[in-house]
Symmetry: C2
Subunit: 187 residues, 2 copies
């Protein structure tokens, strides 16, 4: 996975070959050929590996209600100054996502991945409703909206240089949560 990641950063998707992944791999190139049919299969495994790594780094709030939990998640995914490793990882994800319109393997991966993330968001919103912190909103609709905004932030940051004011985006997300979700007596 490390070899694939290094080769992808160095060459980009377009110029990536199993050969070049092999060049980064200290063991035997034939091991890669034995395990994978082509570069897309390696890359989907890389994406899953990177996503697990990304999720493992996400801070887990101890205690606190659903709203604290949602804010902690948003602080992480819309961080004003992500570290270099995160920036690089995001670029790789966005580049591979750009293959999805013409590549069913990646389309299936990103569809499943979106579904997983949306489910986590909806679970938090549902918990907030149960806790009485949130109004009885449509948790799936809220999750779809939040995921869409987060995806937009991720893609724009990876593709529009330093031109995205992510702090403004985050402030407006908070304004939305305050106005739409938080119960008046919980605000």
């Amino acid at each position: 996975m490390r070899a694939t990641y290094e080769a992808l950063i160095e060459h980009g998707y377009e110029n990536l070959t199993i050969q070049r992944i092999g060049d980064e791999f200290p063991k035997s190139k034939s091991l890669i050929y034995q395990h994978y049919d082509g570069k897309d299969e390696v890359l989907v495994e890389l994406l899953e590996f990177l996503l697990d790594h990304f999720e493992a780094q996400m801070p887990k709030p101890v205690g606190g209600n659903a709203h604290d939990c949602l804010r902690t998640m948003l602080d992480y995914v819309l961080a004003p100054e992500p570290d270099t490793e995160r920036v690089e990882l995001t670029k790789v994800m966005v580049e591979l996502r750009g293959q999805a319109p013409h590549n069913e393997t990646f389309e299936a991966y990103f569809t499943a991945n979106d579904g997983r993330f949306r489910r986590s968001l909806a679970d938090i919103v549902e918990r907030g409703i149960e806790e009485g912190v949130y109004r009885p909103v449509d948790a799936d609709a809220v999750a779809e909206f939040l995921l869409t905004t987060i995806s937009g932030g991720t893609v724009r940051r990876a593709t529009a240089a330093d031109a995205v004011d992510i702090v403004a985006v985050r402030d407006e997300v908070d304004a939305y949560l305050d106005a739409r979700l938080l119960r008046d007596d919980a605000a």
Copy 2:
């Protein structure tokens, strides 16, 4: 431009060559070589052409206040059932945007393009404040947020099959506008 577009849809960015654009071009291949240094230069011109085409199709509300104008724009960019031509165009845009993390030509293009769209959105919000329809919000922050959500919707729809509930996204955008922008006496 038509030849480039057809070649791009047929081959995808990765497998696109000036040769293949030439194959779609009824006139002489050498004309293309005379005018362009490489495929990225042709593609940026294609993107500008497509965007002008896209903007020309956007309905222009006659009469109505800033809020009517913003809703008309959102109806268009977050349309529940865009026609086949729009779907294809969006896929092309998203695929080329996916090149931006490792391609300065596309990065510069999408950065400028985002800036233009954000400016239009901010202009509408500012007009709404002047008209007394909207509260005195930070128009740039609202525009940044709306653009991010629209971008996320566009990217997700082009890469996650039919898995995006765009109607839910649109409903939550409306809820945000109602709660954050619309003055109580204008609602």
